[in-house]
Symmetry: D2
Subunit: 145 residues, 4 copies
């Protein structure tokens, strides 16, 4: 059943997120996880800024990396995955109370998925695009060790 599948995606996604100690420390929440979209949210804290007072680029890149991984992982049916590579363009200073990262697969293969992600800063419920990213998510074993 579709509803059941979507619930179990969220359960799976939340279980993975709970295992990421970094995401727990940051306070990241998974708010949506379907075959076509993964959405992560992060309340911005005072200890997440860079020298100009905006959210640190590293916080945005973490959100993009993580959302890409969730989008690719679920598109590859929940197989254990890692992000092989990604690229991010920062387009505006990230100012607000939280970040939202929305990622979607653009091509899904057996061992790899290529995904794109938009990162938004939210201030007084107004969303502003602050970064766009594109990357490759690989089934474990797809990245060589």
């Amino acid at each position: 059943m579709m509803g059941g599948a979507m619930e179990s995606f969220m359960e799976l996604g939340n279980a993975v997120l709970a295992q990421q100690s970094f995401s727990q420390m940051m306070g990241t929440k998974l708010t949506r996880l379907t075959l076509s979209e993964a959405v992560l949210e992060l309340p911005l804290r005072e200890d997440m800024k860079q020298q100009h007072g905006f959210a640190h680029g590293g916080v945005l890149s973490y959100m993009a990396d993580n959302a890409l991984t969730f989008a690719g992982g679920i598109a590859m049916k929940g197989a254990p995955v890692v992000t092989s590579e990604f690229k991010i363009n920062y387009v505006r200073p990230a100012v607000g109370t939280r970040l939202i990262a929305r990622a979607r697969p653009v091509h899904v293969g057996r061992r790899q998925a290529v995904c794109q992600c938009d990162v938004f800063a939210v201030d007084s419920e107004r969303e502003t695009l602050v970064a766009v990213a594109q990357g490759t998510i690989s089934a474990m074993g797809g990245r060589e060790e």
Copy 2:
């Protein structure tokens, strides 16, 4: 005097790092800053991992982003800068007690610098390359708002 210049680079760099609340929270240290190299180090904590027990990709991308910014900023004579964009390839799981990010400018212009960065995980003093990155650092105002 060269030694004097290098000391003042480190002073400038440390002042910028001290203003990054995210870097303070993470525990990042600047260990070298010259016109040709920026080196950042990060002691890895338990709360910096992903679901497979390795350092989270977002931690590596933060280190790369930040080292690229320092390398580009100092190459552009300490002007206020932001990272416009970068790309990162993760090449091995990051396991160890700390990360080292070494970035260098490959081309320096008046308003932009293109830099590359290698990220290493250190375990028992043995360094392993875990990621490589390449990106554009822009003088403030170079990124549109």
Copy 3:
């Protein structure tokens, strides 16, 4: 008048394309150019292949680079521009009689535009996504020399 503006965009775009000797040699056509989209098409010839018989990755990257430049240039009101950087993911072998590259700005600033591009191979009028790209287009002078 909107229709007039769109006609003059096409005139401007075609004039630029006519000045690109490489695009003339390749046989690239501009089929659409608006503030929100640039579309280039390329009939695939026998002399555009790689060793496995598909269109060469370099042909796809040329199409992406060029479409990104047109999308960014027109978004910045026809100012002289160059592509500062881009990233491309090849997602399927490019097989068919022609390529179509569709690019759109995702953020437009005064001196830079960030754009994304999808490249399709067309076989018997069926379009297949073969590559996705993302990059920065800069107003001339924005890339340092």
Copy 4:
């Protein structure tokens, strides 16, 4: 014998290049191919320019793509490979009589190699860095179809 291996690398590389109809049409030459470096050269013709009179970015990206592929392919022992993705930063206008692309593997796995490439324009034997690239080369089958 090492000399023998290097000769056979060049033979293998030249055979692949001869099968790329696009490289034949462009006039690309392989001048070096070892486990640690691939070097391609391209005499610049009048029909390879963009609207400002420089070599077209697509020509540079083709050279980077191809050199990355050769570097990755030989590093993976001559297995059939494709470029999965790459990123390129253009750092100076490409002016001169030929281009040289030098690529090297930075990490070699069983199914993928991550490589970097510098592209130079040569004018009166003076080499100028015009672009830097980084990408992933995958053994055939590593890119999904």
